[in-house]
């Protein structure tokens, strides 16, 4: 009896633990499934259905395997900051955090004060290992962030507006007074990109090896840095702007304009993919979430708005916050910087409702110019008017890196191999589109091109009926006569009918022309030499 009871309780307990485990696994699997599977029920082709079912099954299995392997492959846990009792996370100061964390991490809190050559802008490599900084008055430097070594420092004696790393730390581009330049790691000037003009903002598209720039005249340039080919050169026609950001998810470039619009561009079309009116004043900053669906914009009217790029009819959230610069971290924290204050927002409910997470103030009077999260670290880099600083933001970085994607501990041999590999995988500029998952899918069946005669007639009749029912305003002085009214009504009906008739006539004409072309009989070869070459001669 007792044994049976024990068995009973065991049976009760075990499934719940298993259940919990499988629920966790389900959540993890969902991440690797990359969206929902195809709907196979609608298919009529049995063979194709069978093949696709096998394929879908395989996807499910691989997602499951990836989720299960996570436990072993991802040794590092993410950072976090939790308040206890009456504490609030946004009241916790950097000094308190520094006291709690290990020495290695607390080294990431520092301020470099260089008052002479300021305001500074900065950029990290995709692995977060190297940082390049550019001072407005011509100071360029590359820093190895692992051991805080200054690799190279140079003074170009010219205004520097922006710096950006190319595909690895060996090359970086700086937007200088008249043209952007490309430098190697040891400070040698490699190229002067004169075609770009006086560039205000630079961005590098890693997968496509494209250097994108926007210059003083609002011209957008895309240059392939491997072959040097100018891929695109477009006038935005929306005025001067220095707000530019690449959406890492699909490679689409977004520009924020002084009219409050944000326009999105790809290198293969001269017109923007879309334009959104985001703010009532000028747009001051832009940032994209890593998953590509969330965009944050900041306007000069002291508002930060979050947008879902799949549903642009209204913003997700509007925050009363002044931001001169915005950046999303790998884990989805949003940093807004203005004046000498940095505010970190986080989405903790999972419902895309951002609330404040941390605050930080640098020395009063320093003006923040650029905020950038360091990839794969819980660190936020701040470029300001008096140098640059770095603070700790627990939970901002992706804790586990992939050696084949971005490796902070990369050796030079690995870097060389990766360069070759990434060049082999270089994407053509045509692959930049709003929905990159469309590549390799089937285009949905086109709608019928021509409406049938019957359809056209019914449509015309409906239009005529609608025109007949129009109510007239009461007019005065002889204009309201029944005869006038009838005339007017006839006019309206004719007007409604007109486009249909025109369409019909055009088609007829085309058809007759085609017929004529066919009816021009070709002479047999033997007689062709007697035919006149031209009617006039």
């Amino acid at each position: 009896m007792g044994v049976e009871e024990e068995n009973g309780t065991l049976a009760k307990i075990v499934p719940s633990a298993e259940q919990q485990f499988s629920d966790e696994l389900d959540i993890k699997i969902k991440k690797y499934l990359r969206g929902e599977g195809a709907d196979l029920e609608a298919l009529r082709d049995k063979k194709l259905k069978g093949q696709l079912a096998v394929r879908e099954d395989l996807y499910g299995k691989s997602a499951k395997a990836a989720a299960k392997a996570e436990k072993w492959l991802m040794p590092t846990e993410g950072g976090y900051l939790e308040a206890e009792g009456v504490e609030k996370t946004w009241r916790i100061k950097q000094e308190t955090i520094a006291r709690e964390v290990d020495i290695l991490s607390s080294r990431n809190q520092y301020d470099i004060i260089l008052p002479d050559l300021g305001p500074y802008t900065l950029d990290f490599t995709s692995s977060g290992r190297y940082m390049t900084v550019g001072g407005r008055k011509g100071h360029l430097a590359i820093v190895d962030m692992k051991n805080m070594n200054l690799i190279k420092e140079l003074q170009v004696r010219e205004t520097v507006r922006d710096v950006v790393f190319l595909h690895n730390e060996l090359f970086f581009a700086a937007a200088q007074k008249k043209y952007p330049y490309i430098y190697s790691r040891d400070g040698t000037e490699l190229h002067c990109l004169k075609e770009h003009g006086a560039v205000l903002r630079l961005q590098f598209l890693k997968n496509h090896f494209l250097l994108a720039s926007v210059n003083k005249f609002g011209q957008l340039h895309y240059q392939d840095v491997t072959m040097g080919e100018m891929v695109g050169n477009y006038r935005t026609g929306l005025g001067r702007t220095d707000v530019m950001q690449v959406n890492p998810f699909n490679g689409v470039l977004a520009l924020g304009h002084s009219g409050g619009t944000v326009s999105m561009w790809k290198p293969t079309s001269s017109a923007p993919l879309l334009k959104i009116l985001c703010h009532h004043g000028p747009v001051s900053a832009l940032a994209f979430h890593r998953n590509g669906h969330v965009m944050a914009t900041a306007g000069k009217e002291k508002k930060v708005k979050l947008w879902d790029l799949r549903k642009l009819d209204r913003e997700l959230q509007e925050l009363p916050c002044h931001a001169k610069t915005l950046d999303f971290s790998q884990k989805g924290l949003l940093a807004c910087g203005s004046g000498s204050r940095v505010q970190i927002l986080g989405d903790f409910s999972g419902t895309q409702n951002y609330s404040r997470y941390m605050n930080h103030s640098i020395v009063k009077g320093y003006q923040i110019g650029k905020l950038l999260f360091r990839p794969y670290e819980d660190v936020l880099g701040i470029g300001h008017s008096m140098g640059w600083s770095s603070i700790l933001i627990p939970g901002s970085g992706e804790p586990n890196f992939d050696s084949w994607v971005a490796n902070p501990f990369e050796t030079s041999k690995q870097r060389r191999e990766k360069e070759v590999r990434s060049l082999l995988d270089k994407l053509p500029p045509e692959t930049i589109m709003l929905d990159p998952t469309k590549i390799g899918t089937v285009r949905p069946a086109k709608k019928k091109e021509k409406p049938t005669k019957h359809e056209r007639e019914t449509e015309m009749e409906a239009a005529v009926e609608a025109a007949k029912d129009t109510e007239f305003k009461k007019k005065t002085k002889g204009r309201n006569k029944p005869s006038k009214k009838v005339k007017k009504r006839q006019e309206i009906i004719a007007k409604a009918r007109k486009p249909f008739l025109e369409q019909h006539m055009k088609e007829e004409e085309q058809l007759s022309r085609k017929k004529q072309r066919i009816s021009e009989v070709e002479l047999p070869v033997s007689l062709q030499r007697f035919a006149r070459k031209n009617a006039s001669t």
């Binding site: 308190t96 955090i97 709690e100 998953n291 794969y376 890196f401």
Partner: protein, 452 residues
């Protein structure tokens, strides 16, 4: 307050000694790989291009015969050896690895028309137009290993003379019988000088014979009266006869699905049949532009090779209507016989120009022992190519083959002809009473009758 930040010590993430392997960390999160679909597509494209670059199927020619190669036989018990017989009565055993003649079997007066090796690989049966069947002892494989360049010649074990010229021979898969084809089908035994049994159905010459690999007593033959006949040795007479519009030159059983066989037809097509249901072909394999002379299945049963009078060798999937691969060289003349090697990696063709040619079954396959990494890379390339094979650019590159001009023109001509035929059929159908004209599918069209 509880706080933790990411902190990586260099020691944990790098190797301890310079002799160690570099540490590799993986994170399969889709979010850190942006535009992975586009990247995969580019890789598929590159893989397709690489495949084209490395497509060098021709391994080498084996010359030595002084007349056209008429037949070949592979030794089921020895991977490297292949027998070939030529029109001048010469039979040779070749070492595929070194592409040399190992042994000669002289004796036939006229053309050698059929060769077959027993399943244990000890006995070779040859027959020819001089009305003789000869049995030979196959030299042991260690003799083949010895590296002396002198060719040996063997003496026949037995020589049986019969009334008519022979066209083909095949050995039973298990047991000691073999069948010859000629004026009729004769079943012989290793140790009797006259046939055990004889079958004759009609008066026409039987031109090829093949035993079923699964059922040792079943064999299929083709004859000049355009028929394919199935025999069962346990029964007194033939089982089924199928008559087609044109004759079949050769026949091959699928070794993995021994109920199915494929016949190489004069009308440029190959027809796969289910032996139980002969009123309709399972699949019609079109692509050749002249009569298909010989056919042989891969030991995997997934594809077969055909040699044709149009001077090309093609490889077809067993269930696909069109060929996967076409092999041709400027010097290769009419192909009379083809064989798949016993490990399914090579194809051997024997042609009118007295040469045997050795081809790779997969044109771009890397030969030799592969490192696991190389193996993985090949597998990955294959997978991405397969995934994006429907996209126009990838499809174009993968499908493209250079064709000799006569073949290219003949293909175009045949296309116009079939198209015209189809159109005429369509019009006839449109202008007659509904239901009076029926279109037969190609799978049935070429069959005249099936007799039990």
């Amino acid at each position: 307050m509880k706080v933790k930040v990411i902190s990586r010590s260099t020691d944990e993430f790098t190797r301890e000694r310079s002799q160690d392997l570099q540490r590799v960390f993986r994170n399969f999160d889709p979010n850190i790989r942006t535009q992975e679909k586009a990247v995969e597509y580019v890789r598929a494209l590159n893989a397709a291009k690489l495949e084209k670059i490395f497509a060098r199927p021709f391994v080498g020619a084996m010359d030595g015969h002084i007349d056209a190669v008429s037949c070949m036989a592979k030794n089921p018990n020895h991977l490297k050896g292949i027998f070939s017989g030529s029109m001048d009565g010469d039979i040779r055993l070749w070492d595929i690895a070194s592409r040399r003649t190992v042994c000669k079997f002289p004796g036939h007066q006229g053309a050698v028309k059929g060769l077959a090796a027993s399943t244990d690989g000890r006995l070779l049966v040859s027959c020819g137009t001089d009305c003789t069947v000869r049995l030979w002892n196959v030299p042991s494989s260690d003799l083949m290993e010895t590296n002396d360049s002198a060719e040996k010649s063997a003496q026949p074990l037995d020589e049986y003379v019969w009334k008519n010229a022979f066209w083909a021979v095949d050995h039973q898969w298990e047991g000691d019988r073999f069948a010859t084809a000629g004026a009729g089908v004769h079943i012989w035994n290793h140790n009797k000088s006259v046939p055990e049994r004889s079958f004759e159905w009609g008066t026409d010459t039987v031109i090829s014979v093949r035993f079923n690999p699964g059922e040792p007593n079943v064999l299929a033959t083709t004859a000049t009266d355009r028929s394919i006949v199935l025999y069962d040795l346990r029964m007194s007479s033939e089982v089924t006869k199928l008559i087609m519009r044109t004759r079949c030159n050769s026949i091959a059983w699928n070794p993995m699905e021994p109920i199915n066989f494929t016949a190489a037809n004069e009308d440029c097509n190959c027809y796969s049949y289910d032996a139980r249901k002969l009123d309709e072909a399972k699949c019609v394999h079109k692509d050749h532009v002249s009569a298909v002379m010989d056919i042989d299945y891969s030991p995997t049963g997934r594809e077969f090779v055909t040699g044709s009078y149009d001077r090309t060798v093609r490889i077809f999937p067993f269930n696909g209507g069109h060929s996967r691969e076409i092999y041709h060289t400027k010097r290769m003349q009419r192909v009379f016989c083809v064989k798949f090697s016993c490990d399914a990696t090579y194809v051997i063709s024997g042609s009118d120009d007295t040469n045997l040619r050795l081809w790779k079954a997969k044109a771009s396959e890397q030969l030799g022992v592969l490192l696991p990494r190389e193996q993985k890379r090949h597998e990955y390339h294959e997978a991405v190519k397969n995934r994006y094979k429907h996209l126009p650019e990838v499809k174009r590159i993968v499908r493209h083959r250079h064709l000799p001009k006569p073949i290219y023109k003949a293909v175009a001509l045949r296309r116009t002809m079939t198209e015209a035929e189809r159109r005429r059929e369509e019009r006839r159908k449109a202008h007659s009473t509904p239901g009076s004209v029926t279109t037969e599918p190609l799978r049935q069209k070429r069959i005249i009758k099936v007799a039990e």
